[in-house]
């Protein structure tokens, strides 16, 4: 029996746009699913259905109106939906990793430091963290001349590979992936598929959004249809 590492239960999210007269924008409702160790689940459904919003709520980046997101963290379970900021940061440091769709580049910080940072904030020495980042960059075919440069001027695909290295560098038990292969060529998509397979073998629980059919087919153990959580549906 596989371990369940995360359970989302009846999660609801609505945006209230105060700048537009308080119009309510329902995003999702009744989001319920669980993530198991050693498996990759995929969020399915058309654009705009709320897939990214679900990932962001799981990461504590978006708040939830109601519901629970229970995570196995340091041997106990905690509810991200109601966790205080310090606990959310601790969960991000040790339990939930996230590969965002776009890299948020910080001026003057090299690609190597961007990728190594999640290890360094966990206390890994710079040398060891950089070595791991270099290994991942090499595997992802990121040209070596870029490694010591800040990624702000990189192409979309290069930035995405820095982001992937940053997300995969730790051994977080849960990993969230927001279209990690969107700007990659076929060869690098294969590398990411392989990285995901290794994470699964290591017992991580993954949840991703993949618009690329081949990638989805290669990695998905389970498809969660987000259309079923469309906010309108459950409003009655």
């Amino acid at each position: 029996m596989m371990n369940t590492l995360l359970v989302a239960s009846e999660v609801k999210k609505t945006f209230i746009m105060h700048m537009r007269g308080g119009v309510e924008l329902p995003v999702v409702a009744n989001v319920s699913f669980s993530l198991k160790a050693g498996a990759c689940a995929v969020l399915g459904g058309p654009s705009g259905v709320g897939k990214s919003s679900i990932l962001k709520m799981l990461y504590g980046n978006y708040g939830c109106d109601s519901g629970q997101i229970l995570v196995s963290h340091h041997g106990r379970h905690v509810d991200i939906a109601s966790a205080d900021p310090r606990l959310v940061l601790e969960i991000r440091r040790d339990t939930i990793g996230y590969v965002s769709q776009f890299l948020r580049a910080v001026p003057r910080v090299s690609a190597l430091d961007v990728a190594a940072e999640p290890l360094m904030i966990r206390g890994v020495a710079q040398e060891a963290a950089h070595k791991r980042a270099r290994d991942l960059f090499a595997e992802l075919n990121l040209p070596e001349k870029l490694w010591s440069l800040p990624p702000a001027t990189f192409s979309g695909g290069e930035q995405q590979r820095v982001n992937i290295a940053r997300g995969f560098i730790t051994d977080h038990p849960i990993l969230l992936l927001d279209e990690p292969t969107a700007s990659l060529d076929a060869a690098n998509r294969e590398v990411v598929i392989d990285l995901i397979a290794r994470k699964k073998a290591d017992g991580a629980a993954l949840l991703g959004i993949f618009h690329d059919h081949d990638v989805r087919h290669a990695v998905a153990d389970d498809v969660i249809d987000v259309s079923g959580f469309a906010a309108g549906k459950s409003a009655a």
Binding site: H18, K56, V106, R108
Partner: protein
């Protein structure tokens, strides 16, 4: 079956994530006659945590910073600080001398305008060395070496150690002010618009430097800024103020990416995209 039974981890209350707060601000209020400077502000700050206080000019953020750093007496409310011996002290019940010693050693204050935090007519080295002497260092050679070391940490060359900050650019002055504050290895640093008034390229360099120092030294920081990009880059948590009151508070990226209060939505939507 309850939710908790579906997870394999044992049921438990959320554990308090280590230690006690370094600073506890409780219902702090400062009024100027009938006008509110800041009202009913409460928060805790833990060791190593960076808190940004954001809001427009006149929102009360500088008044709040001055009240929690003992530079201005609040009308009511309390500020407790955990001393190095672990005891919690009400900073407004301390003797004046004790509070001054705390400010010179365990705390730092980085002003928006470096002129307010530096002595412009003594050398850069002396600006840094002065704080060391205040904590009892007397050996000239050691003080000078430590000063040079700190100047290099803030990217000021050894050849400038004997120059007065009058001869420095704005960015260098700000870096010197930071070195002067950090040389005594404080645990808590207050910053008032530390990048205000600097060119963007100079800002980027300073922010990068601050980020590195804060994480290397494990500093707790309260930084006041009107610049949301600075808050995103430097802080873990943020407080949004308007008309002296806290409008919204929380994890920095949550507040910026999913703002709830109308005023926060206005602030976030007012940022120009480059």
């Amino acid at each position: 079956m309850s939710l908790s039974e579906t997870l394999d981890a044992p049921a438990d209350e959320i554990a308090p994530a280590a230690s006690k707060p370094l600073l506890s601000v409780n219902q702090l209020t400062r009024v100027y006659g009938s006008r509110i400077g800041c009202a009913d502000v409460s928060f805790d700050l833990w060791p190593g945590e960076v808190l940004a206080i954001v809001g427009e000019s006149g929102s009360g953020k500088t008044t709040l910073l001055n009240c929690i750093s003992s530079r201005m007496t609040p009308t009511c409310g309390t500020v407790h600080y955990r001393m190095r011996d672990g005891a919690s002290a009400d900073i407004y019940k301390m003797a004046e001398a004790e509070r001054r010693y705390l400010m010179r050693t365990d705390w730092g204050f980085v002003h928006q305008n470096p002129i307010d935090g530096l002595r412009m007519t003594v050398s850069a080295g002396a600006n840094v060395g002065e704080r060391l002497m205040a904590v009892g260092n007397r050996h000239y050679g050691n003080i000078r070496n430590t000063a040079i070391e700190w100047l290099s940490r803030v990217e000021i060359g050894e050849d400038r150690v004997d120059d007065q900050p009058r001869t420095f650019s704005g960015g260098m002055r700000q870096r010197l002010q930071i070195a002067r504050n950090l040389v005594t290895e404080p645990r808590l640093v207050f910053m008032d618009e530390p990048t205000g008034g600097l060119d963007v390229s100079v800002q980027a360099r300073l922010l990068d430097l601050l980020r590195g120092l804060v994480s290397d030294l494990g500093l707790a920081v309260v930084v006041v800024t009107h610049d949301l990009a600075v808050a995103r880059l430097l802080s873990d948590r943020m407080i949004v103020m308007k008309e002296g009151r806290v409008i919204e508070a929380g994890l920095t990226d949550r507040v910026l990416d999913d703002p709830r209060a109308p005023y926060t939505q206005l602030l976030v939507s007012s940022i120009l995209q480059v």
